[in-house]
């Protein structure tokens, strides 16, 4: 047996055959499942946006999105306008939630004009402005949605991540971390300041809403800093638009 499988030609043929079989198998799986995966991703984006503006199925301290079958209807009901801001000029676009933030960030890096999506939602007579943000955590991308009122006071957030450490950085998508942001002011004395994720603030119960700080997660310094950095760099871009609302 060993004579046959040890020859160079057999090895090369086996390698080629293996690559072809595995490659075909993976390509087939990926392309046949793609429509379902992208439908799931679309639903997820809508759920995330609605979650940030407080439309979810949380009970007590549990965490739950609007259910999959209801999300399409709820999204149409609560999100009144989808805007794309280019060069500080807003325009309506009902596909704005599908804009790939990562691609837009690359465009901006190359010196091109970046599209900034913004979703205007209404619930109980209150208007919410929801902006997507994206940045870097410790291992990989982190992203989220921040719902604000017209004075840039946070009304709710949703964070997610690709591969942060479970139990540490991955906890940015836990209620206890996200809920702390609600009510925090992004401005300080009329200037945009962002919200820092602080290890040293003396406000673990988060009662001071104007300190531009929330309490950090122990053991997740770099992920926390990433959250603060993406809030600062991304939401800053929306400041000119919010000025026009006053």
């Amino acid at each position: 047996m060993s004579n046959k499988t040890d020859s160079n030609s057999y090895t090369v043929l086996f390698a080629i055959g293996m690559v072809l079989v595995v490659g075909a198998l993976l390509a087939f799986t990926a392309s046949s499942l793609r429509p379902m995966i992208s439908a799931n991703q679309k639903i997820e984006k809508q759920q995330n946006i609605l979650y940030a503006m407080g439309i979810n199925e949380n009970e007590g301290s549990s965490f739950a999105f609007v259910s999959k079958d209801k999300v399409e209807g709820e999204f149409g009901k609560y999100i009144k306008k989808q805007l794309v801001i280019e060069n500080n000029v807003p325009a309506e676009d009902d596909k704005a939630y599908l804009i790939d933030i990562k691609k837009q960030q690359t465009l901006a890096k190359d010196g091109k004009v970046r599209k900034l999506p913004l979703f205007v939602g209404e619930k109980d007579g209150k208007t919410f402005y929801i902006a997507p943000i994206r940045g870097k955590g410790l291992w990989d991308a982190i992203w989220g949605y921040v719902a604000m009122d017209k004075n840039m006071v946070v009304q709710g957030v949703f964070f997610d991540h690709k591969g942060e450490t479970p139990g540490l950085g991955a906890n940015i998508k836990q209620r206890y971390f996200m809920d702390d942001f609600t009510g925090e002011d992004l401005m300080s004395n009329g200037q945009f300041k962002g919200i820092a994720v602080s290890k040293s603030n003396n406000d673990p119960k988060n009662e001071d809403k104007t300190d531009n700080e929330v309490d950090a997660i122990a053991g997740a310094t770099i992920t926390g800093d990433g959250v603060a950095a993406m809030i600062k760099s991304e939401l800053k871009l929306y400041v000119p638009y919010f000025k026009t609302l006053k």
Binding site: A15, M18, L33, G167
Partner: protein, 214 residues
Amino acid sequence: MGLLSKKDAKLITDPLADNNPITIQVLGICSALAITAELQASIVMSISVLFVLGVGNVVISLMRNIIPSKIRIIVQLIVVAALVIIVDQVLKAFAYELSKTLSVFVGLIITNCIIMGRFEAFALGNGPWRSFLDGIGNALGYAVILVTVGFFRELLGSGTLLGFKVLGDPIEKTGLYAIGYENNGFMLLSPMALIVVGIIIWVQRSRNKALIED
């Protein structure tokens, strides 16, 4: 032992204690350190490894007579990587929520030394049924340690188990916290996982006669 012969049953029971992949063979330590800060993550990882190791061992065992020995490591890598990617894609299509929880573990499964170790040491030389049992046994041995470490790290580090606050609320100062108990934040960091694994190894070696060296 109606279902399994004595020899086959040993394939399952051995890795649970006397030949545990983590504490005796010291394989799979990397993921044992990385993801045991929470009990839930430990359990999810254990189930994933159970699946990949069980199926992977069978696939490698079926191919064992046609794999050229010069490139066998690469073949093993391709099998495990393909398996993990297919599972990930299928989950993304049919169980999206679950796949989001698992996505972090995908990379960790592919590089898990236990998987490569079992392919190389067992599946290449044994039939599919025995390889399957060996895969399940080793994955269970891995799971036992992972869950134990996860249990202590989450309990002592965050005061919770599976997310439930079993010791009271640290901010509201209820339960144990009312009498001055504090969470040990150090338990959440990887070095403490190594120390916990070390303690398990110590306890196991001092109690199990077969493992005591002169």
